[in-house]
Symmetry: C2
Subunit: 356 residues, 2 copies
């Protein structure tokens, strides 16, 4: 995989320059933020359908996707909450802890690369990696998953119907159904979205000042566009895959050691490209107030401190307490409306244990 990092960086630098110079017209700054489009990009080889989404929803909440029934997707990406698990790092089915914090899955379909290092180019690929990852679902292989779900009559029927059976159950189709469901997970109509759409009373004076600071200090250079996570190829900008940034961008602050910021080599650990040391996917800020603790390692427990650390390490700014409070007030306006969800019924394996 190759990412056109140079174009990202050039884009970053221009935006950053514009924003930090404080020369951009307000209209332009507003143009850098958009409500979520009605639909994310749907891959041609996995079109949405209601039965597929229903199947994906069942699978999402079904712990039988893990080797021993200990965890479901929802364990670490809790949709009844902010779409994460509120833990620094998650612990998978067999008790092994990961090294990076589980991100929210709300609005994740408006991104184009997955994992903190962007190593998966599709939701489907990311899901398959999760299923077979021994620190996550810990399935030993695709055959175990296929055999298990074929043994559950309701699932076999649904898979065969959705994927035009008779061998509908497969690792690929499991990932496709899950991805289809996850693509429905959007939180629209945040206070900030209403503000963008002209309702100037939708956010407080402090949040409005925070939004101005967010632009003026340079936060918006990375956290912009529909998901406050940089441009989305296909939906607007023609760019490389994902939108990456060094973290820390400016080394040497006290935070490096305090929060172990340099321990994780980021994308380099995946592709061994020396230019990718400490490079991470820019994460969404939607619902950020609901997903503490913060950063790839979950090392920072409060949003206030996360704002301070980001300002210092990414744009070399010391914010005043007032600026921090205002920016946090702004970030809290990014919590959207969570669509009501009916709990799925998980098809039983009548009279049978599915575990070894």
């Amino acid at each position: 995989m190759h990412i056109s990092k140079s174009s990202c960086r050039i884009f970053f630098i221009s935006l950053c320059g514009l924003f930090t110079a404080g020369t951009i017209p307000v209209a332009y700054a507003f143009d850098a933020f958009k409500p979520l489009p009605l639909t994310p990009i749907i891959p041609k080889d996995n079109p949405q359908s209601a039965p597929k989404v229903d199947l994906g929803k069942q699978l999402y909440f079904d712990p039988r996707l893990s080797v021993n029934g200990a965890v479901s997707c929802n364990t670490c990406h809790n949709l009844m909450a902010g779409g994460d698990d509120g833990r620094a790092v998650s612990v998978g089915a067999v008790g092994k802890a990961g090294t990076r914090s589980a991100p929210t899955l709300w609005n994740v379909s408006y991104e184009t690369v997955y994992f903190w290092d962007g190593r998966a180019k599709s939701l489907e690929a990311a899901i398959k990696e999760h299923l077979l990852d021994q620190t996550v679902m810990a399935m030993p292989d695709a055959a175990t998953l296929t055999n298990r779900f074929n043994s559950i009559p309701g699932y076999k029927r649904e898979f065969d119907y959705v994927f035009d059976g008779p061998s509908g159950v497969s690792l690929d189709n499991t990932a496709k159904a899950l991805a289809s469901y996850i693509r429905t997970l959007s939180t629209r109509d945040s206070a900030f979205d209403r503000y963008l759409q002209g309702d100037k009373d939708a956010i407080s004076a402090s949040a409005e000042k925070g939004f101005q600071d967010f632009i003026a200090t340079g936060c918006a250079a990375c956290h912009f566009w529909v998901n406050m996570a940089g441009p989305v190829p296909g939906l607007a900008f023609k760019m490389g895959e994902g939108f990456y940034e060094l973290f820390p961008n400016w080394l040497g602050s006290k935070y490096d050691e305090q929060y172990h910021l340099t321990d994780d080599l980021g994308r380099y650990a995946f592709d061994k490209n020396p230019k990718h040391k400490h490079l991470f996917r820019v994460p969404t800020l939607r619902n950020i107030a609901m997903t503490a603790p913060y950063f790839h390692n979950g090392s920072v427990k409060t949003l206030e401190q996360a704002v301070r650390v980001m300002a210092k390490t990414q744009i070399k700014r010391n914010l005043t307490d007032q600026q921090v409070n205002d920016i946090v007030a702004y970030l809290k306006t990014l919590s959207g409306q969570f669509p009501p969800q009916l709990m799925p019924r998980l098809p039983p394996a009548p009279g049978q244990s599915v575990y070894k």
Copy 2:
């Protein structure tokens, strides 16, 4: 705690005698089974209310009830499935496994003692024990729970409203809200319930034969009344607390060793009463086809084998394969209608991690 075991035993023996002798009129046998009453017994000190049930539902699905956010009530008692976790034994928040299999919580409110050994006399007491049990939620103490939920504004508001604040958050009130929600969990209108109510086509010929075998062989001596778990004091019979039985009742079968049936000392381990060695609460059979694996230790993986083992160890009968198949067909008619459940939204702690 003292249970009036003698009355249970006498009752058991008379019923068993009636049933196994095959002398009871069909009408009497039918009278031993009832659809669930419209409401379970509601304790005077914890009346039901809609806001309390809503709060309890949020708590039920909230992993913040566990010390580190690893598990919620629903992890081991999965209401999207049969109300259990399908595992032999569950693993709690800090990775410790229990020694007894998590029972279903569907219809649990129609019982009067809780845990396999009946050591809790109320749902509230059982819940409090779970919260502080280091193999389950692993909360270090009540103060940790109270402080945590007081730090979550939405929860503090709800607790104060439901329990007439200003100090609504407490271990006791957490248990009360959870118990109120759990008391709403009934699965009515199973095929067998419809059969009991006169719809003779509601179950198959094999299931009907299985029901007759279930009575004639003596299974119904313990598994009868509204929850197929023995009498319910207060709802009908005036008896002691719960309905217990020795397991194994008849020692010496090959199953003792194969399924480690004698390892667990049952109620004796709780009260050290020598008469209570291997004494267990009779579990409900409602939705039994959805809660494999079986028995207090989860050692038997299929319902067929569970029926064989029960017949041999409890009533000293060797069933034919046909009898086993018919009884299993009958047991499958006990799966009820699961009421649709909207997922709760879990109140956020904006910008704060609640974990140490």
